[in-house]
C-alpha cells in the first residue's frame, strides 16, 4: 500500500520533471534546426542563383562574341571576296589558327536566292539552297540570327549563327556553325556536386545542351520555361517523395534560352544532414542526461521521504504506546485508590478479629482453629490485593528517576544473584557475556534493577524448567545494550503487539499482574532509553534494553 504510494509518487515526479525539462530542450533544438535549415536553404538558393546568372552571362558573351565576329567579317569584306571559296577557306583557317577556342565548326556564304555559294567545313554543303529554311527569311529581315539546336540538311544537331551582309543593294548571309561540344563543356562546368546538373533549354523546354544524366539534346526536358519569368533569376522547388529538387533558371539576354541549374536535397543538403544529426545527437545526450539525473535525484528524494515516513510511523507508534500507557495508568491509579480504602478496612477488621480471638472466652471454642485460619486467609488475600494495587500505583507513579553512578555490569550481576537460586532449582543455566569496558553512566540504579529483574523473571517463567538464559551487555553507538535471551517457547505473533500493554499477561491467574513489562517500558523510557524485543515462536525471545551513555557529573 505504502510502497505503491511511493512508486506512484516516484513516477509522478519523474514524469513531470522529464516533461518540463525535455520539452523545452526538444522545442529549442527543433527551432534551432529549423532556423539553420532555412538559412541553409537560402544560402543554397543564393549560390544557385549566382551560378545560373554567371553561367548564362558566359553563354551570352560566347554567343555575342561569335555574332560580333561574323558581323565584323561582313562589314569588312565584300560579297565577292567571301563568295570566293579559296578566300573563305584561307580566312577560316587564319581565324581558327588565331584562336583554338573560337568554336566555329564551319562557315559559309549564302546569296540572296538562298544558294550556298561558298563553304568551308567538314560537311559538303556547297550548292544547297536555304531559301525554304525558316531562318533564311529571318536573317534577311532582322540582320542577325542565332538558331536553336536543329537537325537541318546534315541531319545532326547543331546551332548556327547567321548575319546579313550588304553590298550595294545586294543582301547576302554569312553563316557559321557553333561547336556544340564547346557549348556543352561550358555549361557543364556549372554541374556542381555529385548529382547537380546544368543545361540550357529553349523557350519550349527542349534541351539545347546535353543534360548530365537522363535525356539528350533535342529531348523534351519537362521543364516549363514559362515558370521562370523573363529577366530575373528565380529558384523553384519540386518535391518528389523524400527528394526536393531545386531549379535555378536564368534567361539569356540576347537569346530566348533558359540556363537551368538543378540541385537535389541529398547532395547539396549533405551539410545540413550533418548538422541535423549533430543536433539530434546533442538533444539525445541531453535527454539521456536529464533522464538519468531525474531518476537518480528522484530516487534519493523518495528514499529520504520514505525513511522519514518510517521514522515518523515509528515515533507515532511509540507515542500511541505511551499515550495508551498514560491513559491506562490514570485509570489504574483511580481504581487502586478506590480499592485501597475498603482493603484497609477489611484488613483492620480481620486484624481486630484475630486480636479478639486471643481473649480467654474464645480460646475454648471448638472452632477456634477454623476462625484463626479463616482470618489468616482474609489477611493473606488482603495482602495479595494490596500488592496488586500498590504495583498499579507504582506503575502510574511519575517519580523522577534518581540519578546515581551506575555500573551496568554490576547491577546486572546483582540482579542475577537474586534469581540464581530459583533458576538452579528449575535447572535453568544463566550465562553471562559482559562487555569488559562499559562506562559508568548516570541512571537510576534501583529502577534499572527492577527492569532487569522483571525481564529475568519473565525469562524464567517462559522457560519453566530446563533451559538457558543468556545475559549480555554491549556498547554501540554511544548506547549501552542489555540483552536478556531465553530459549523458551517464544511469544506468539498475534500477542507480540500487546505485550507492553498494562494488565496483559499470559501467566496463570495470581502469578502475574500484567504490569511488569509496561512498568519496565515506562521506566526505561524515563531513563531516556528504549525497551524492545525479538521473538521467534519455538526458538525463544530476546529483550533488549538500550540506555544512552550519560556521563555522571563530577561531584
Amino acid at each position: 500500500m505504502k510502497r505503491q504510494l511511493y512508486r506512484r509518487l516516484r513516477l509522478q515526479i519523474i514524469g513531470l520533471t522529464l516533461v518540463v525539462a525535455i520539452t523545452p530542450l526538444v522545442l529549442l533544438g527543433g527551432a534551432i534546426y529549423n532556423q539553420f535549415a532555412r538559412a541553409h536553404e537560402a544560402r543554397i538558393e543564393d549560390q544557385m542563383r549566382l551560378l545560373a546568372n554567371s553561367q548564362s552571362s558566359a553563354v551570352e558573351v560566347f554567343l555575342r562574341e561569335r555574332t560580333n565576329l561574323l558581323t565584323m567579317l561582313v562589314e569588312t569584306h565584300a560579297f565577292e571576296q567571301l563568295a570566293n571559296q579559296a578566300f573563305l577557306m584561307d580566312l577560316f583557317e587564319r581565324l581558327n589558327r588565331h584562336s583554338d577556342q573560337l568554336g566555329l565548326v564551319d562557315m559559309g556564304v549564302i546569296d540572296n536566292t538562298g544558294l550556298h555559294v561558298s563553304y568551308v567545313g567538314p560537311f559538303n554543303l556547297k550548292g544547297f539552297n536555304y531559301e525554304q529554311q525558316p531562318w533564311f527569311g529571318e536573317v534577311m529581315t532582322k540582320g542577325k540570327y542565332v538558331s536553336d539546336v536543329y537537325m537541318g540538311f546534315r541531319l545532326f544537331p547543331h546551332i548556327i549563327i547567321a548575319v546579313r551582309g550588304r553590298t550595294g543593294e545586294h543582301q547576302w548571309i554569312l553563316r557559321a556553325t557553333i561547336d556544340l561540344d564547346m557549348l556543352n563543356r561550358m555549361v557543364s562546368t556549372a554541374q556542381a556536386g555529385r548529382i547537380g546538373d546544368a543545361f540550357i533549354v529553349n523557350a519550349t523546354g527542349i534541351y539545347q545542351t546535353k543534360p548530365r544524366f537522363e535525356g539528350a539534346i533535342l529531348d523534351n526536358s519537362n521543364i516549363d520555361p514559362k515558370a521562370f519569368s523573363q529577366g530575373a533569376t528565380i529558384v523553384t522547388k519540386k518535391d518528389q517523395g523524400a527528394i526536393t529538387y531545386y531549379f535555378a533558371g536564368s534567361w539569356l539576354k540576347n537569346k530566348n534560352w533558359l540556363l537551368v541549374i538543378r540541385q537535389q536535397t541529398d547532395d547539396e543538403v549533405g551539410g545540413l544532414l550533418h548538422t541535423r544529426n549533430t543536433v539530434i545527437l546533442i538533444i539525445a545526450l541531453g535527454v539521456l542526461a536529464i533522464i538519468i539525473t531525474t531518476i537518480f535525484i528522484t530516487n534519493i528524494v523518495v528514499r529520504h521521504l520514505e525513511a522519514a515516513h518510517q521514522e515518523l510511523d515509528m515515533l507515532s507508534s511509540q507515542l500511541v504506546q505511551s499515550e495508551k500507557l498514560a491513559a491506562l495508568g490514570k485509570m489504574a491509579t483511580g481504581i487502586a485508590h478506590e480499592i485501597n480504602n475498603p482493603l484497609a478496612v477489611i484488613g483492620e477488621k480481620a486484624g481486630w478479629m484475630k486480636d479478639l480471638l486471643e481473649e480467654e472466652e474464645f480460646k475454648n471454642s471448638s472452632n477456634l482453629k477454623e476462625y484463626l485460619s479463616s482470618v489468616a486467609k482474609i489477611e493473606e488475600h488482603v495482602e495479595r490485593a494490596r500488592k496488586i494495587t500498590h504495583n498499579m500505583l507504582g506503575f502510574a507513579r511519575r517519580m523522577e528517576p534518581r540519578l546515581d553512578d551506575v555500573e551496568v555490569n554490576r547491577v546486572v550481576d546483582q540482579t542475577i544473584e537474586l534469581l540464581s537460586n530459583h533458576a538452579r532449582i528449575q535447572n535453568i543455566e544463566i550465562r553471562k557475556a559482559y562487555h569488559s569496558a562499559l562506562p559508568i553512566i548516570a541512571s537510576d540504579q534501583s529502577q534499572l534493577q527492577q527492569v532487569i529483574l522483571n525481564l529475568m523473571n519473565n525469562a524464567v517463567d517462559a522457560i519453566g524448567s530446563n533451559g538457558q538464559i543468556e545475559v549480555a551487555t554491549a556498547l554501540e553507538n554511544n548506547h549501552i545494550f542489555i540483552h536478556v535471551k531465553d530459549d523458551g517457547p517464544g511469544i506468539p505473533k498475534e500477542l507480540q503487539r500487546r505485550i507492553f500493554d498494562p494488565f496483559f499477561t499470559t501467566k496463570p491467574t495470581g502469578r502475574g499482574t500484567g504490569l511488569g513489562l509496561s512498568i519496565s517500558y515506562s521506566i526505561i523510557a524515563k531513563l531516556g532509553g528504549t525497551l524492545s524485543f525479538q521473538s521467534e515462536p519455538g526458538k525463544g525471545t530476546t529483550f533488549t534494553v538500550s540506555l544512552p551513555v550519560v556521563t555522571p557529573e563530577k561531584k
Binding site: L343, A344, E348, G351, L393
Partner: protein
C-alpha cells in the same frame, strides 16, 4: 513500658474505630476522629505524641489543611500520613509541611506499629534536646 498517645484522623469510620480498638488493645492511648474539624477539637483538649492522618477526606477540611493546623497547634506531635488516595504531589507537600512519614493503605498493623514507635522515638529525642 512507656505509653504514648495517638490520634487517628480518617473519614472512614469503620477504619478509625477498628484501628483505635487494636491500638488500645496494645496499650496505646489511641483516640479516633472522622474529620479535620473533629481533629481540631480533640487537639484543643489534649496533647498527642503521634498523629495518623488521612490526606483525602471529602467534605470539610482535607488532610493537608488539617496538617497545617496541627503544625500550628501541636508542633511537637509527629504526623504520619496514612492514605489510600495519595498523589505524589500531595505526599511531597505533606512531607514538606513536616510530616514524619508517608504510608499507603492498606498497611499491616505490625508495620504501622514500627513506624509509630520510630516516630515517637524521634519526638522523645527532640523533646529531650
Amino acid at each position: 513500658m512507656t505509653t504514648f498517645s495517638v490520634l487517628v484522623i480518617d473519614d472512614e469510620e469503620d477504619f478509625v474505630t477498628t484501628l483505635v480498638n487494636r491500638l488500645q488493645k496494645r496499650k496505646i492511648e489511641a483516640q479516633g476522629v472522622t474529620s479535620g474539624e473533629a481533629a481540631l477539637e480533640a487537639l484543643a483538649k489534649a496533647d498527642f505524641d503521634v498523629i495518623l492522618l488521612d490526606i483525602k477526606m471529602p467534605g470539610g477540611m482535607d488532610g493537608i489543611e488539617t496538617l497545617r493546623e496541627i503544625r500550628k497547634r501541636q508542633p511537637q506531635a509527629e504526623v504520619i500520613l496514612l492514605t489510600g488516595h495519595a498523589s505524589v504531589e500531595t505526599s511531597i507537600e505533606g512531607m514538606n509541611l513536616g510530616a514524619y512519614d508517608y504510608l499507603l493503605k492498606p498497611v499491616k498493623l505490625e508495620d504501622l506499629l514500627v513506624k509509630i514507635a520510630a516516630a515517637y522515638e524521634k519526638k522523645s529525642t527532640q523533646d529531650k534536646s
